[in-house]
């Protein structure tokens, strides 16, 4: 994959000043995404998924401090002048947020928003831009696309709005699409439709994608690689099949166990992870997961485990007592 790396995130740290002190939202994260590849980023609420994607997009809150390097398509985004960055976003680097209204303008029609995006980045005349807009709306599964051009976002359902946001994100054929919980606000059938749509367009356009979610079920069948985040760090990273075959990090295991299982009888208690992630303004000395980890031992409280490679270098995890070792010790 190194041959055609599209994005590489190198030792990225995001600090946010807050009244309670410094909040480290992203803590020394390294990631790569190859051209046409899909990376899933999974973790509980507040673990830094959105801050990481905003760091990649260079859309952090003003007061945020960012260090590290973000290389995209051969360019160092931290060094890029604002004008060039703006051109890049929406053109080769696009984003879909959880709430489609974050990216849609409520006072402009769907058509105006699509046509403006197309004309801003590609030199298209009105007729061509209109035709492309209709094609895009049809591609994302919106019935009667011609009529939709004249409608405003509030006249559409949540699922339809997210489709429009995806159409706008896809409009300039981006090389990388970041989808930040694109379906968390939608119900299960619409969720499946939107995820299918993203997967189909991703394959068809040979576009790379980062799919952010708190649900391991969402990334299982739809990504090439998964990075699990906890308290601002990547704590496990592996090709998707390898991860589900053999999870090493206790946190990943706990996240999976907390999902309701369809084959379990009703009223089976769920193995919930007790407590909450640590307060990010009060970082722990040892492993951030140690207060909630059922495998924790004294070393876990004192030292922070680094992200290290397992038997294959593609599978990395940050844990002193990874799951298999622990099981062996019990036998």
């Amino acid at each position: 994959m190194t041959g055609n790396t599209l994005l590489s995130v190198e030792d990225v740290v995001v600090d946010l000043p807050t009244p309670r002190g410094n909040l480290r939202a992203v803590d020394h994260v390294d990631l790569t995404v190859g051209a046409g590849q899909t990376l899933g980023v999974v973790g509980e609420s507040g673990c830094g998924k959105t801050m990481l994607s905003r760091a990649i997009l260079q859309l952090l809150p003003k007061k945020a401090k960012l260090s590290g390097r973000v290389m995209f398509d051969g360019q160092d985004l931290l060094q890029l002048p604002p004008e060039k960055l703006r051109k890049l976003r929406g053109r080769s680097l696009a984003v879909v947020f959880q709430d489609p209204m974050t990216s849609l303008n409520p006072v402009l029609t769907i058509g105006t928003q699509l046509i403006e995006t197309l004309q801003e980045h590609l030199e298209l005349n009105d007729a061509t831009a209109t035709r492309r807009s209709v094609e895009l709306l049809a591609a994302v599964g919106i019935p009667a696309p011609e009529q939709r051009l004249a409608q405003y976002p509030h006249q559409l359902s949540g699922g339809m709005r997210q489709r429009v946001a995806i159409a706008i994100a896809l409009s300039c054929e981006p090389k990388l699409l970041i989808a930040d919980e694109p379906t968390t606000a939608l119900d299960v059938t619409i969720q499946a439709q939107i995820l299918d749509l993203l997967a189909r367009e991703q394959r068809r356009r040979h576009m790379a994608m980062i799919l952010i979610t708190h649900d391991l079920g969402v990334v299982a069948g739809r990504t090439d690689e998964v990075a699990v985040m906890y308290a601002g760090r990547v704590v496990e990273r592996a090709p998707t099949p390898a991860l589900f075959k053999k999870m090493r990090m206790p946190y990943t295991e706990a996240l999976l166990a907390a999902l309701p299982k369809l084959d379990a009888a009703p009223h089976t208690p769920l193995p919930a992870i007790s407590g909450r992630p640590p307060d990010p303004t009060r970082p722990l000395q040892g492993c951030s997961f140690s207060p909630r980890c059922r495998y924790a031992m004294s070393r876990c409280q004192r030292e922070k485990p680094g992200l290290e490679a397992a038997e294959t270098s593609a599978h990395q995890f940050a844990c002193f007592h990874p799951i298999e070792t622990h099981a062996d010790a019990n036998v």
């Binding site: 509980e44 609420s45 599964g141 019935p143 359902s157 949540g158 699922g159 339809m160 939608l186 119900d187 299960v188 059938t189 619409i190 969720q191 499946a192 439709q193 995820l195 299918d196 997967a199 189909r200 708190h214 649900d215 391991l216 079920g217 969402v218 299982a220 069948g221 739809r222 998707t240 099949p241 991860l243 589900f244 706990a254 996240l255 999976l256 907390a258 999902l259 309701p260 299982k261 369809l262 379990a264 009888a265 009703p266 009223h267 089976t268 208690p269 769920l270 193995p271 919930a272 992870i273 007790s274 909450r276």
Partner: protein, 326 residues
């Protein structure tokens, strides 16, 4: 209008909803939000209610509690018809039923302290003794896993979504109700907090002997807590049956599609692209015959001519479909 009725599987129904209709006038038009739904919930049972956004789940839940008066139909609670009750009688009955909402943060008054929020139902119910109120507030907060001394003096914004949902559950439990409508209580929570709250609801159900109507759009969540499941589409019931049976052998094509839409945490299971295309039609002008026919792979002429009624397809399982899968 033809009746849709699922005969009760238990003679001891705490709640008996009979041919409930709820319509919202919007301008000159009518939103057919709930169109003739009948269901029963036995004492101590959890009935799950699933369906897509806009299919009428919240409307049904609110109409059961008389927070929205139904257009037609009856709601028998412990033998009393709530739809004809007024004033004091209704207020007395309301103490026995409660509602928990989807958005825990929005359903708590941001300017009131947690102690006052949880005590509010007691005040409304006329419990005058402040010491008694305080004691009950402490008891119920402990029951939902919060430390009363750390919590009562604080404001809602100081709590996470999961903690706010615990507070809402405490407020719903304080009058010792018999029946609770849980309207998507975990939809806004992430996977790990969702599991904590589902476990808490189960524990509270056992401890307080509750009967629940559990509304959600996620079938896997519903299955985890429900004895029986009712599937709703565009204001009507498609299917009702015991949870495990319904999942193992769905009879209604819509139930089958909902089950397929559940994300499975297994990379070898490539998601199938068979979920219903498009979105449900408008409840202002629902399709003739079977309301699901515009998205149903099995639809034929009969489906547009004739409305399917709920019929037994297996013991305890009822489906409203001309061409059921079982």
């Amino acid at each position: 209008m033809m009746l849709q009725s699922a005969p009760s599987i238990s003679p001891d129904a705490l709640l008996d909803v009979d041919n409930l209709v709820v319509e919202y006038p919007v301008g000159a038009k009518i939103v057919h939000a709930v169109s003739g739904v009948s269901l029963q919930i036995a004492r101590g049972e959890t009935l799950g209610l699933v369906g897509e956004s806009g299919c009428g789940k919240s409307t049904l839940g609110r109409a059961v509690l008389q927070l929205r008066r139904p257009t037609a139909g009856r709601v028998l609670f412990d033998g009393h018809d709530l739809t004809t009750m007024q004033g004091d009688a209704l207020r007395q009955m309301r103490r026995r039923v409660q509602l928990i909402f989807q958005d825990p943060i929005a359903s708590l008054n941001p300017r009131r302290k947690i102690g006052d929020i949880v005590a509010e139902p007691l005040v409304i119910a006329g419990v005058k003794d402040p010491e008694k109120r305080e004691r009950l507030v402490h008891e119920v907060l402990s029951a939902v896993g919060l430390d009363p001394t750390l919590v009562v003096g604080r404001l809602p914004h100081e709590f996470s979504g999961g903690q706010c949902q615990r507070i809402c559950i405490a407020r719903a439990l304080i009058l010792n109700p018999e029946f609770i409508v849980c309207d998507e209580p975990v939809s806004a929570l992430d996977v790990s907090i969702r599991a904590q709250i589902l476990n808490l609801l189960e524990e509270m159900k056992g401890r307080f002997g509750l009967t629940l109507l559990f509304i959600a759009h996620d079938l896997a969540v519903v299955k985890a807590v429900s004895d029986r499941v009712a599937v709703m589409y565009l204001g009507r019931l498609c299917e009702v049956g015991p949870s495990e049976q319904l999942f193992a052998r769905p009879a209604h094509p819509y139930t089958a599609l909902l089950i397929e839409a559940i994300p499975v945490p297994d990379p070898d299971v490539r998601p199938t692209e068979t979920v219903p295309v498009g979105e449900p039609p408008s409840p202002i002008a629902p399709p003739s015959g079977c309301r699901f026919r515009t998205r149903c792979p099995r639809a034929d002429q009969r489906c547009s001519d004739e409305m399917p009624e709920l019929r037994a397809v297996a013991p305890g399982q009822f489906a409203a479909c001309h061409h059921p899968l079982v």
